[in-house]
């Protein structure tokens, strides 16, 4: 699989990925139109007082927030699976995939936290809720994968980076249930919607927009992953190619009798 991959040229795009990109962008525009324009704000009447209650316009953020959150976890699970694959098979394909998934997942995770916080301000009347299990788990996850990316960036040797990254990703995923349990017992109460879908007035348009959100963010994830994977692959090839070229140049210099050039200027 690895040998047949096209890695020449100056772009990570291909015919297929351009179509995917165009569909994704179109999908995003449509989603924004539905989420922020065509759907109604969440307004309900209080059963006894008759007051207007609900999430009002803030509900529109959920069309982005919920799919983003789901695909954050998809990306991190993908990273963990690829990391486990790397530890078993030790092939660059798994490592490049794990790195790509972690990076895209971290961006998604950051967006989940930001959109959730903006949504929480009007609805929960707070930017941040310490006792909430999902908030805290997602934040810890975000911090762990920030560390993962920092570790990969700091490790020069690509094999060491792959191995260490794989261990960190697996530890993060193993640790996650413990973080989740501990925060749950910690406060034993949660503001987070048990099921967002259940509480909202699910009309046809609301449900459609939410499903569209899942579809569109699935495409965004796939598109970003594809390109990030190809960038990672090119980076790796470049590193290997660079060393091979340098060795070939030195060999050529020695064969040509230019020993000074072969051992460097200082010699």
């Amino acid at each position: 699989m690895t040998e047949t991959m096209v890695t020449t040229g100056t772009t990570t795009g291909s015919g297929g990925s351009r179509v995917l990109g165009a569909v994704t962008l179109l999908g995003l525009a449509t989603l924004l139109l539905f989420a922020f324009g065509l759907t109604e704000p969440d307004v309900r009447l209080h059963p006894t007082t008759g007051e207007e209650i609900g999430q009002f316009d803030a509900v529109r953020l959920l069309y982005l927030h919920v799919p983003l959150a789901v695909f954050t976890y998809v990306a991190f699970v993908l990273c963990a699976v690829a990391s486990a694959g790397y530890l078993v098979r030790r092939t660059p394909w798994f490592d490049t995939m794990a790195h790509a998934a972690a990076e895209v997942g971290t961006v998604f995770c950051g967006l989940v936290l930001v959109t959730g916080s903006i949504w929480g301000r009007p609805v929960w009347n707070t930017w941040w809720e310490w006792g909430d299990v999902r908030l805290m788990t997602t934040l810890v996850l975000f911090l762990m994968f920030t560390g993962y990316l920092a570790l990969r960036r700091a490790t020069v040797d690509p094999r060491a980076a792959a191995l260490r990254g794989a261990v960190v990703a697996l530890v993060a995923v193993l640790d996650l249930p413990l973080v989740n349990r501990s925060v749950e017992w910690w406060e034993n109460r949660t503001l987070h919607q048990k099921s967002t879908l259940g509480e909202l007035k699910i009309q046809d348009l609301t449900l459609f927009t939410l499903m569209l959100g899942f579809l569109v963010f699935g495409l965004v994830l796939a598109w970003l992953l594809l390109h990030r994977f190809r960038v990672g692959w090119l980076e790796r090839e470049d590193a290997e190619h660079g060393v091979a070229t340098a060795i070939a140049e030195r060999r050529a210099a020695i064969d040509g009798g230019d020993v000074d050039a072969a051992v460097g200027e200082d010699a």
């Binding site: 560390g147 490790t155 094999r159 060491a160 501990s182």
Partner: protein, 224 residues
């Protein structure tokens, strides 16, 4: 098995002997631990009621900060003169090496915890309501921190940015330990009505996973 334990004991004894002779943890980390307690006092306006109420959390944050230093030290003694290569060539199993290194960190952490416990009793006026719970929490949390820290120390070892990288890698992973140990101390020091023994279960699970996972992964990391 006896070979395994003997190897682990050798490595632990080596690290503790280095510590006994260099006194880095005793002369630098231990005073730092007390300093952190004093800094919390300054930051919280030296109100002993506040300090006593938050003593469990402050105690465990101080332990984690000191643990970072102890782990850095544990990694750096293997960096000098290619010591780790020597250990790898000695024929010991990497798991024994891991258990040995983690045990040495564990012993140092327990000493620091004893010191910090005395610190919160004297400085914050905390009272130990359940000594057994304090001891059990201290030991289990020290196992969890020592094993996770030794594994992550190996992950960050050999990197120029180890000192700055280790905290960001290690501290989020230790979040459950901080929460669990703080809650257990809340009960043991009588600062909140929670079931501290239930939290020990979480700490125990973490400690077992960290020990087993660390022993498994350490080999791959030091032999890369």
């Amino acid at each position: 098995m006896s070979r395994f334990l003997a190897d682990a004991r050798l490595v632990a004894a080596k690290d503790l002997r280095i510590e006994a002779r260099s006194r880095v943890v005793l002369n630098q980390v231990a005073p730092f631990a007390l300093l952190v307690l004093v800094l919390f006092g300054f930051a919280l306006d030296a109100d002993q009621r506040t300090l006593r109420a938050f003593a469990p959390g402050l105690f465990w944050v101080a332990v984690l900060l000191c643990a970072l230093l102890a782990i850095q030290r544990s990694v750096s003694v293997e960096q000098a003169d290619g010591a780790l290569t020597g250990l790898r060539l000695s024929g010991m199993s990497p798991a024994a090496l891991f258990i040995g290194k983690a045990s040495a960190v564990f012993v140092q952490l327990v000493v620091l915890e004893v010191l910090l416990t005395a610190g919160i009793i004297v400085l914050y006026g905390s009272e130990v309501a359940q000594p057994l719970l304090v001891v059990a929490t201290g030991l289990l949390a020290a196992v969890a921190v020592a094993c996770t820290g030794t594994l992550y120390g190996a992950l960050a070892s050999g990197l120029g940015v180890r000192e700055t990288l280790l905290p960001i890698l290690l501290l989020p992973v230790l979040a459950p330990v901080l929460i669990g140990a703080t809650r257990a101390f809340d009960d043991a020091l009588g600062s909140a009505a929670v079931d501290g023994w239930a939290w020990l279960g979480l700490l125990a699970v973490f400690a077992v996973v960290a020990t087993a996972g660390g022993a498994l992964a350490y080999g791959a990391l030091v032999e890369e």
